[in-house]
């Protein structure tokens, strides 16, 4: 904490500080651990509801509709581009060397989706293949 003494009006009337906690440590949870382990093995891990049969991606511990525990499954459906956008500047406002394409990748017969960096000429609904299993994913348009 420091007293800010710039300007007559501000004298002892304002102060600067950092906000609250210094850092956060998040856990990914049980389902999240399965998902991340899957990425390391080059797999997309989702979860299947034993009651309604829906598959969620990424994996969740429970089915949001039936509210029962799910089991993990590998998602093997065709991956496609649900939507995309093109970014020209970074969050500080500096122009990127080359525009970055970010997309929402979904999988056939699965609920949910994953964010991904897109390579190639993007097309809505177009099939993509995963080239790097990471967060976010890296995919190439087929």
């Amino acid at each position: 904490m420091s007293w800010d003494k710039v300007g007559r009006e501000d004298k002892l009337l304002s102060w600067k500080d950092v906000m609250e906690a210094e850092e956060y440590v998040y856990t990914v949870g049980y389902a999240g651990e399965e998902f991340f382990k899957g990425l390391k093995e080059g797999k997309i891990i989702g979860s299947k509801c034993p009651k309604c049969g829906k598959t969620y991606v990424p994996a969740t511990l429970y089915c949001e509709d039936c509210f029962v525990e799910t089991s993990t499954v590998e998602v093997k459906g065709r991956a496609y581009l649900d939507s995309f956008t093109i970014i020209y500047k970074d969050s500080e406002g500096n122009k990127l060397e080359s525009p970055q394409v970010i997309g929402l990748v979904r999988f056939e017969n699965a609920k949910g989706g994953l964010l991904a960096f897109i390579e190639g000429e993007p097309k809505l609904g177009g099939e993509v293949e995963v080239i790097a299993y990471d967060v976010p994913l890296k995919v190439r348009v087929k």
């Binding site: 609250e20 429970y62 509210f67």
Partner: protein, 391 residues
Amino acid sequence: MKTNLFYRRVAVIGAGLTLFKRRIVETPREMSWVAARKALDEAGLELKDIDCVVIGSAPDAFDGVHMKGEYLAHGSGGVRKMVSRVFVGGATGVMVPISAWYHVASGLCQSVLAVAEEKMSPARPHPQSVFRYIWDPITEKPLNPNLIWIFAMEMHRYMYVNKVKKEDIALVSVKNKRNAINNPYAQAPANITVDDVLKSEVLVWPVNLLDVSPVSDGAAAMVITSEDIARRYTDTPVWIEGVGWTLDNTEWTGRELAYPRYLEHAARMAYKMAGIERPNKELDVIEPYDPFDYKELHHIEGLMVAKRGEAVKMLKEGVFDMDGDIPSSPSGGLLGVGNPIAAAGLMKAISIYWQLKGTAGKMQVKKPVHTGLAQAWGDLMQASTVVVMRN
């Protein structure tokens, strides 16, 4: 408060808790789901039977997720349902069943899933840092106070005004940690002595380490329904018969610290609704909020279960023991079970619900119980919430 309203009867028919732990693996959503699922199972309901979801959680900054109510809605069964989040600091936990109560009592809903969650472990170096900006920015913040400072001042004032000794206050910690041995969800059960409390590390005089509840992660949930639904699913509903809540001003420096006046107001509101005239005679079991050991005594006086300054005398006589006249914190309270803020308050209400249902297991108090009370307290020592239940 004078009301001329017709309330529908409101029952509790199910409850669930997660383990209370220092650092839990589950995400906040997963924790909410674990508690909510257990509550639904106990009630015999499925998510499709639930009209509306009430979520309680203290500052977003604990879990490190802003819009925490919206975030938690997923694990609380709130997806595509009527969801609201209540927040009155530490008093949130008991505000959750109160809010669920008015959803049902008003006739708006038939069945409510009430969920409280707190994950205290993500913020570093310590969750206490989350409280850095609750102070007056000009007169208080420059001192860099933390909550234990002001509670230490409150405790000191309570000790001075009522001529209470520290070793007497320590008896609360001894009692609650002992009660927690019977609680399968507890984080800090222990058989300790007054000496252990007095010899534990001094944090901020007169508060020692064992005077304070531990930091925890945890979630709690309750299923609260109309009389129709309750009668259909259970033969032993527990009724919410009185609710009360009060907020005092944020200028804690302007208040008499030795007595929680705002709690008296909240308690009077709940007693009036429940038709209680002599709380010390009519309440069979109580769960006053005990993040610090002196707070339990402070609150017992605010609840008018003891006269001002006489809670200690009753404590020493054993009135508040498991086999006493008015068992207090039979769950083990925050001191014994842990303090994931909102979840801890709801845990207290769940404890009373289980006591009245007769399913508290080893936590069950010796005497037969008919009327119980749970209470929570929070914000800048200014908010209190009270719920009275009967079987």
